[in-house]
Amino acid sequence: MPYFPDEVVEHILGFVSSHRDRDAASLVCHVWYRIEGLTRRSVFISNCYAVRPERVHARFPCLRSLTVKGKPRFADFNLVPAGWGASAEPWVDACARACPGLEELRLKRMVVTDGCLNHLAHSFPNLRSLVLVSCEGFSTDGLATIATNCRFLKELDLQGSQVEFRGRHWLSCFPKPSTSLESLNFACLDGAVSANALESLVARSPNLKSLRLNRAVPTAVLAKILTSAPKLVDLGTGLVAQSNNAGALPSLYSAIQQCTSLNSLSGFWDSPRWITPIIHYICKNLTCLNLSYAPMFRTVDLIGTIHQCQNLQHLWVLDHIGDAGLKVVASSCLELQELRIFPANANVLASTGVTEEGLVAVSSGCRKLNSMLYSCSRMTNSALITVAKNCSRITSFRLHICLHGSVDAVTGQPLDEGFGAIVRSCKGLRRLSMSGLLTDSVFLYIGMYAERLETLSVAFAGDSDDGMIYVLNGCKNLRKLEIRNCPFGNTALLAGTHRYEAMRSLWMSSCDITLGGCRSLAAAMPGLNVEVISQADGGANDAKKVEKLYVYRTLAGPRDDAPGFVSAL
């Protein structure tokens, strides 16, 4: 080993791209640590408060692609108050100083202001890719700055972000006479879009492969776009409906037939049901279909469409596809790998969407399934046991029964046995999200069998501290534990004292932990940030119940940007 030249190690490591493999390589010896650090091009920071940006750049001076995640996932469900943090500014700042050659920046659940986008636009002339997933804090003005200044931009993806509408001009700001755009996603944008600017942009973007429009793009414009970009691979439509332009629909129909490369389709919004035949033109080639934002499509429309999509690998739909629809999926979509069923009415607790029957049908028909998100009104242990037998390859299983605490619809029992079968059978399970009435037994099973589990989400489950303790003792690969409304107290929390440093984070809300317990944890583990989020003034005595707790390992010490309602213990 002492005579192993650095250049050879460097050359070999150049072939290693996975983060985990590179992390492992960096632990071999000091030489490898140094070389790996110098050659890593793509860095993934899963928690923006786990490390200071400057430290990242010091260790990886040649990075070209940076991914940073911010708020805890439960922020998606309004459990994290506004103003909590996760500002992108420090990251953009540090990057601008240390790494002006940055090519890719991906942020998730972070707050990005127009000022930040401005800074970005002027600091990274080489930027190829900007992806903002579930971010907020910026407006169309910020987008205009990016479009104007990042002349080589290939990808601009705003998936799920909240963007303040300040005008339509941003689309006209992309480079002329042509752009390098390959992927543009502004489906989440609220507000109108200039038809001329959009048509002109598509016409001057010869490399465009993926385009996701927002609701406001009318049918006529979509038809024109497809005519000028028939090589599109991924399309998110606007609202497709009758307009007062009589020629729009027929020209859309003929335009879409020319799009022979199209294999991914989404959008539709409040499009009326009678436009579903338009999808039939491209059914044969479709591998990804997302109809989960099309509440007007009824079961019969969905069935008619999906029946023809024999090559589908990813399907996202609303629960009014019904069990009947899922049976059609099971018989037609044998290549299906990922299925997501969302509730059509998120605010109605007793939906009549899909039941355990649909789940069983899909699991028997679609043997390649590896990822499921299933929102249903009822479930049984026997169904889950069948699913476990049929789909032992599942890596991600999320079941959301809309009424929390629901029992087995046939036997009235808790759903412990069902989930137990899932973790026992699906040896590769990495992500699990449970619902229904669950006792400590299910956690015992998880602790015993779920060896590969990395993310566990639990709500309204368990009887006592034992539940959480089983999981903490058992799941050696656990990285993220998210718990809400469970009867876990200080004993459970402290049982994991020495586990949390090996995990990314722990979230506990509406449980039975107290300030005293959290303080003990903080005192025992200085390498963790133990943060209590509380908005009520109730005094600071140890017996006070903690409403929301967020614990994460960090090299950066306590946050210096914490708002008043976040207390670091």
Partner: protein, 180 residues
């Protein structure tokens, strides 16, 4: 201009919202801190009541919730256009903001209206034949005729009882639309 004799204390039969519900909070409309405690107790004492809701349950991302229509929450108001032979009804709750509403109104009265203006000021509705501009006005809870667009969207949805697209020659008593 017609005024209806409205009892300003009468809440619209259709929406059932009151002002508190339109206040910006982080919880679902109708949920409160008590729901969580109730949910916890329900878990141990008895089956959860169908009405028990908790913040953020079912786990549907806020983005998705906003994109999908809430069943039953429907605010249908009459729309009158000066010169049109019959009225229409539009569901205010189905639209995200003023832009979307104007587009919908345009869609409804397409033969007689056109949408003019690609600029940042937003669309205006004009008579396709004469080019005369229509001013969107609405009658609020107090029976007053107001210019559409002054108050925040949610407040507008809550207080609007009906809409009238007034020919601008008649709209002399209302303040001109600010240009900015």
């Amino acid at each position: 201009m017609s005024t209806s004799s409205t009892n300003s204390a009468e809440s619209p039969a259709v929406s059932g919202l009151d002002y508190d519900d339109t206040a910006l909070t982080l919880a679902l409309p109708g949920s409160s801190a008590d729901d969580r405690k109730r949910a916890l107790h329900d878990e141990h004492d008895k089956p959860p009541s169908p009405k028990a809701r908790a913040v953020g349950w079912p786990p549907v991302r806020a983005y998705r919730r906003n994109a999908l229509r809430e069943e039953g929450a429907c605010k249908l108001v009459k729309v009158a256009v000066d010169g049109a032979p019959y009225l229409r009804k539009v569901d205010l709750a189905a639209h995200g903001g003023y832009e979307a509403l104007l587009r919908a109104l345009h869609g409804m009265f397409a033969p007689c209206l056109a949408v003019r203006g690609e600029g940042e000021l937003g669309s205006r509705l004009v008579d396709a034949a004469t080019g005369a501009e229509y001013v969107p006005t609405y009658e609020d809870r107090d029976g007053d005729w107001m210019l559409v667009g002054d108050v925040p969207w949610k407040m507008f949805v809550e207080s609007c009882k009906r809409i009238r697209l007034m020919k601008s020659s008649e709209a002399v008593n209302l303040a001109p639309r600010p240009s900015s």
